[in-house]
Each structure stands twice: as structure tokens, then as C-alpha cells.
């Protein structure tokens, strides 16, 4: 199982933008209003820093995953303990994405289809891909669909351009101020920062090294730019007030496409592409969860057996989330931003990086 740098680029890109375009915008616009684009720039920069730290750490151990080198850095027990938050995060991500997918699909296309069918079919497809192709298949799918996603996004931006009204972006800064802008940046950065799962993907790259780091940073930068364009477009279309009240402003913007009578109802393309990017993200997370769990227990080779446990568990968790139905905004703010962002994306990678460089120095002396 090997992927190349280009595949890694597309994987990270699809992982980043699919869900980010859809769910973070409302939270950001509610707090940073028409200055949300500043928040997204800020988020992009922070996302790059987070990715850089993780990539730097991984390139010290280019043949090992996070699970392996955390044990190498901190010792066996501490190293095993410190990756537990990541497993929690991955299960959390999978069940929440699936929940979001279900909500979105039920709201927009399939009004009566029961949850277990939508969730089950998605998990089935993901399971099939991961089981048979592993990371290689996911890489190829991303490489195939990434460019198509780009084309659709460019088309979307082009076709909605006639609705734009740039004075909606004014006044800059006066209405919001520093606090709200930074607060607005938290939601997108918490999703951009998910690129830290590269720590699991790094050793699967053919020749892990400088080029890999470059591909990763490029992917995050590219996603940040696309998200920035997305939020600019949304604000210039709806204004800060209305877009802050819409649940999926980007999608609503696409629904507005109406050109020359016959170019309309573009939303179905965006939806299809969005589903593909959800699929890619789920596959990646499911793969690293099972692979990581297998490594964690010390039986790397039997990761496919672990997958048989991870997939049903995800299904059960998702159904649980759907039944309990916690509000998405609350989850994003009170769990994801409060714990996952500072702990999994910032603290742990930084800690590992610091400890490993201290160790290196000690060894040299």
C-alpha cells in the first residue's frame, strides 16, 4: 500500500473542503459578520502552522505512524496513552460526518428514507473501499475526483458571480473587531487542522520527505483559498445577516444559479461532489482508525480484522448520535473547538515534537 505525493495532496484537499464549505460558514459569519473573510485568512494561516508542525514531526520518523513514534518518543505506556484522544476524535468525526450527511440528504433530497439506510449504504461503500483497496484505493479515488471537484467548484463560482454585490463586504472591521474575528476563525481552523491525521498517512507515501511536506502544505493552503472564496461569495450574495441565518449558505448560494433560463438547479452537481468528498474523508478516517487500532494493539497485520469491528461500531455510534440528536452548532463549539482543536491538533503534536527534539539533542551529547 503506497500512495504518491500528488494523491496525498488530493486526499487532504477533499478531506478539508467538502464538509468545511458546508458546515463552518454559518458559525463564522454569525460571529465575524462581513469580516468573515479575515477569519478565514486567519484560519488558513493557523491551519498551515498546525499542518507544518505535524508534518515536521512526521518527517522525523518517516517510516512510522503516529501510533508507533509516539511510543518511540514517550516510551511505551505514555505513548500509547497519548494517542487515545485521537481514536476518540476519529470515531467522533466519523459519526458526526455521517450524521451531517444524513441530515443534509434528508433535508434536501430523500425526505422519507430512514436513517439506517443512508448511513448503512455509505458505511458499506466505505468499508468495501477500505477493505479491498486500503489507502491506495482512497488515494486513487481522490486523484480521480479531486480535479472534478475543482471544476465543479470553479463552475459554481463562475455561475454565481452575477449575483455578487461587493459593497456587502463593507464596512471592514468596524462592526466586529478583533475578538469576534478570531472567534469566527475557530470553526474553520478546527476543521482545517484535521490535516494532522497526516501523521497517520505519512509513512504510506512512496518517498516521504520534503516533497510530501510541500504537498501537504499546498493542499491546506489550497483548501484555505477555496474556503476564503466560498465565504466571500456567500457574503456578497446574501449579505452577512441572511447568510448567518442560513444553515447551509454555500449550498443555498448554488441553488440561486439561474442563467439564461436553462442553466439552473446546479445544486445536484455540488451535492454529488460533496458526497464524494465525504466518502473520501470517511474512508481515510476509517482506514487510519482500523490501522491505528491494529498498531496500537501490536498486531499491525490484522488491521482488516479490526475494520470488521470499526465499521459496525461507527454505524452504532452514528445511529446513537442521530437518535440523541445533539445540536450541531453546540458540538462544534463545545467539544470540537474546546477540546479537539487545542488538544489533538495543537498540544499533542507540539509536545511530541518538543520531546523528540530534546531527546535527539540529549542523544547527541
Amino acid at each position: 500500500m503506497k500512495i504518491n505525493n500528488r494523491q496525498l495532496f488530493w486526499m487532504i484537499l477533499m478531506l478539508e473542503i467538502g464538509i468545511n464549505l458546508l458546515i463552518t460558514m454559518t458559525a463564522t459569519i454569525q460571529s465575524a459578520k462581513q469580516d468573515s473573510w479575515i477569519s478565514y485568512i486567519l484560519a488558513g494561516v493557523m491551519g498551515l502552522v498546525i499542518t507544518y508542525v505535524a508534518a515536521k514531526l512526521s518527517s522525523r520518523y518517516p517510516r512510522q505512524t503516529l501510533i508507533e513514534y509516539s511510543a518511540a518518543i514517550l516510551g511505551k505506556w505514555a505513548g500509547k496513552l497519548i494517542v487515545i484522544p485521537f481514536f476518540l476524535q476519529w470515531f467522533w468525526v466519523m459519526s458526526l460526518i455521517l450524521r451531517d450527511e444524513f441530515l443534509f440528504i434528508r433535508l434536501n433530497v430523500l425526505y422519507k428514507t430512514p436513517a439506517w439506510v443512508i448511513i448503512g449504504t455509505m458505511i458499506g461503500v466505505v468499508f468495501y473501499t477500505v477493505y479491498h483497496g486500503g489507502i491506495e484505493a482512497i488515494g486513487r479515488v481522490s486523484e480521480l475526483w479531486g480535479p472534478i471537484l475543482m471544476v465543479i467548484l470553479v463552475l459554481t463560482f463562475g455561475l454565481t458571480a452575477n449575483n455578487l454585490n461587493w459593497p456587502m463586504l463593507l464596512p471592514v472591521y468596524a462592526d466586529t473587531g478583533f475578538g469576534p474575528i478570531v472567534e469566527g476563525a475557530l470553526a474553520p481552523v478546527s476543521l482545517l487542522g484535521e490535516a494532522v491525521l497526516l501523521m497517520m498517512l505519512f509513512p504510506f507515501v512512496e518517498h516521504p520527505g520534503k516533497e510530501t511536506r510541500k504537498a501537504l502544505l499546498l493542499a491546506v493552503a489550497f483548501s484555505a483559498v477555496l474556503l476564503l472564496l466560498g465565504v466571500l461569495w456567500v457574503i456578497m450574495t446574501f449579505g452577512p445577516e441572511v447568510s448567518g441565518r442560513l444553515q447551509f449558505p454555500f449550498f443555498e448560494m448554488v441553488k440561486l444559479v439561474y442563467l439564461m433560463e436553462f442553466i439552473q438547479n446546479m445544486d445536484i452537481f455540488v451535492m454529488a461532489v460533496w458526497l464524494v468528498s465525504i466518502f473520501v474523508k470517511l474512508s481515510i478516517v476509517m482506514f487510519i482508525t482500523s490501522y491505528g487500532a491494529a498498531q496500537w494493539t501490536g498486531k499491525t497485520r490484522s488491521w482488516k480484522k479490526v475494520l470488521w469491528g470499526v465499521a459496525p461500531l461507527t454505524f452504532i455510534l452514528t445511529m446513537l448520535v442521530i437518535t440523541l440528536n445533539p445540536p450541531a452548532g453546540l458540538l462544534l463549539k463545545s467539544v470540537w473547538i474546546r477540546y479537539v482543536l487545542p488538544v489533538n491538533m495543537v498540544a499533542i503534536p507540539l509536545l511530541l515534537l518538543v520531546v523528540s527534539s530534546i531527546r535527539k539533542r540529549v542523544k547527541r551529547q
Binding site: 433535508l107 434536501n108 433530497v109 430523500l110 425526505y111 422519507k112 428514507t113 430512514p114 439506510v117 458499506g124 477493505y131 479491498h132 449575483n163 459593497p167 463593507l170 464596512p171 468596524a174 462592526d175 446574501f238 449579505g239 445577516e241 441572511v242 442560513l246 443555498e252 441553488k255 440561486l256 439561474y258 439552473q264
Partner: protein
Amino acid sequence: MFRKVIVISVAMSLILTGCWDRQELNDQAIILGWGMDLMEDGEYLATANLVLPLASKSGGQQGGEQGGRSGFMTESAYGKNNRDAEQNMQRKLSRVLFPGHRRNIFIGEKLAEQGVFSILDEYGRSPMVRPRANIFVVRKGTAQEAMSLAYQLETNPAIAVQKIQEKSGAPISRSLLDFFISANGTGCGIMPALTILQPEVNIGKKSKNDSPPQTTLGIYGAAVFNSQLKLAGYLKYDEYWVRLWIANKLALRSFTTIINSVDADKPGGAASDALSGASRGKTVSVSVDTFKSQITPIFRGDQPSFRIQLEGKGFIEENNSPLNLSKPANVKKVEARMNQYLEEKIRRVVTKVQKDFKCDIFGLGDTIHRRHPYRWKKLAADWETIFPDMELDITVKLNLTGTGLTGESLLPTREGGEK
């Protein structure tokens, strides 16, 4: 083993055909228009304009009728709100109401007067409907009256009003969205208004095949809503363009003014002449297709005022005045007279909005907000009281780029002599 799983799952998908959301086309009643009225007893009456499947099949060019059937049907029902009425309507319909193509929404005048706040939510909330929709107020009438009226050129009156609105120079098919945006801005909303128009002169049908003008649907202008989203008044068809021009949304419009006394053509002296209201005389028409508006807030101390510069590009389409348009100086004269006329006309409309509606539909407050955000913080709360007495300096600058196919008129002599 895995192959077995796949075989079983494929087989299962064949046996357990579970298409929960299947909705055949011939099981749907496609809604093209939706109307809401407020009745005397306080209940809402919803009216739906439905596509008649048989009629629309062969395209309807024959006055909306085919073999004695019109191309649409309307159905109505009482209800507490949109959804409730829709459900009540469903009991009369053999097909499921499908609002995915609901592009036109009609609101009766009475409902508009009571405030549209109580019914507008569904148009943005329901995932079945699209955000791109036209919303109209039916002046001096109910939505049901307007929607029941057959329209001759189209099979369906809902399509007709959509197309009429597209041709009126206003933004295409987004009045609902614009209403949501402007209601969130300085607090005033504006919607296009429809009305039922009697023919100007009634002439009877003398034989079966005669087609004299009939009672039809038309654009009245625009309905202005105050900050409580209640109807404040109307702008007429000949006034609505003023708002569109100032808000930078006008696409096309032609203007006609009177140039009677060529000799008394001192600058500034003939505005009254241009505005005399006479419908007959020596007229010039200009067709304008490029519009620009620049609003500049000016502060004297804390007191805001505005300079509104309107620019347009167009050409002369009709000239019944003695002016010989092959002389550039005369084109300049028409330009100057046109500017005078437009300035006066616009000033009247703006004053009407300021004094009668007391409602900032021009986005002047938004301009201060965007250009001088810190000053706006002090003004925002009192904007409703400041706006009616606001001083506005309006200048119009038309740029006439052509005189049509001829310079001089093709007619040999002119009343009033060559000029």
C-alpha cells in the same frame, strides 16, 4: 467469502426495493404560483396555481386555452399558515402538491397591510422551495383574483407575471431574496406589485374571432414595506425605476420628455415645461440601457446629507420636436432637457418616499453604514426620524451616444420651423 456478501447484498437490493422517496411525475401537482390572502375573519386563504398536465403537453399558444381547457388550474384552501393551508388543500387534490417549482408568490393587499411577517418564514425555511422566487403584492385585490385570471400570451398567469417582471428592467427573479436582504438592512422592504388592469377602452367583440384587449394582469410598480414589514404604500410603474436606478439595479428604461418651446430654451428655464404633464406635444424619447448610481454621504457636523449622482447611457429613439438632431448642439440640448426632467421627476419620487413612507428604500443608511461605520453607530437608532428630513442633492447625467437611424427626421418640414 466476500463475493458471497456482495451477491447477497445485490440480491437483497433487488428483492427489497425500498424507494421511500419515490414520487412519480404523474403523481405530483406542480405548483407554479402560490398566493396568500388574509380574509375578513382573520384566516389565511392560500391559492395554488397548478400546472395542468394535459394542457401543457402540446404547448399552449392559443390564448391559454386548448379545446376549451385552460393551461392551469387554481385551487384554494383556508389555513393558519402556508403549510396548514397546503395540507388543507391536499384533501381536494388527487396528486401530491410539489412546491419545487414555486417561483412566484402572490400576496393580497389586505395581508400586506397587516404585515407579511406572519407568512414569509416558510419561503426561506422549507427545503423543498428554491430561494430564487418572485414575490408580488396584488394591489387593490386578492392573490386569488390575480391568480385566477387567464393570461392570453402564456398558458399560465404565474409564468406571465414572472416574464413581465423580467422585462420590466428590475433584477430577474430574486425579489424574495432581495426582500429578505433589505429587511435585514436598514429595515425597509420592497416588493414588486401587480394589479389587475382593465383595458383602457372597452370595445365589444363583434364577431367570434375578434380579439379586443381584455382585462389582464400587469405590473403596478412596487409595494413599500415599513420596518414592521407592513405595507406603507406603493410606487407606481413610472416611479419604481427611480428606486432601482438609485439602488443600482435598473437594467433598461426609456424616458420621454416634452420639448415644446425651443426658443425659450434657456438652461434651467424649462423644467416646468418638461414636467407639464401634457401627454401631447413635441416629445423626445430616449432609451437608456446603462445605469450607474453613486451615493456620497456628506457630513456637516453630525448632520448627514447625500449627493446622489445618477448616470446613464442611451440613444434617442423618437424625436417629434423641431430640433434637427444631426447637429451635435441639439443633441446636447436634448440631453440637458432630459437631465432637468429626470432630476425633477426623481426628486418628486424621493420626496414622496421620504414624506409619505418615511422609509429608506434607497439604501442611503446602508451607504453611511459602509462608508462611515463609526458615525453610523450614532445614527442607526434614529435613522427612521432622520431619513424623512434628509437633504438630498440629486444630479442626473445622461450621455446620449446616438440618434437612431437618422439624424434629421425623414419628414421634410416641421411645425415650429427648423432649429
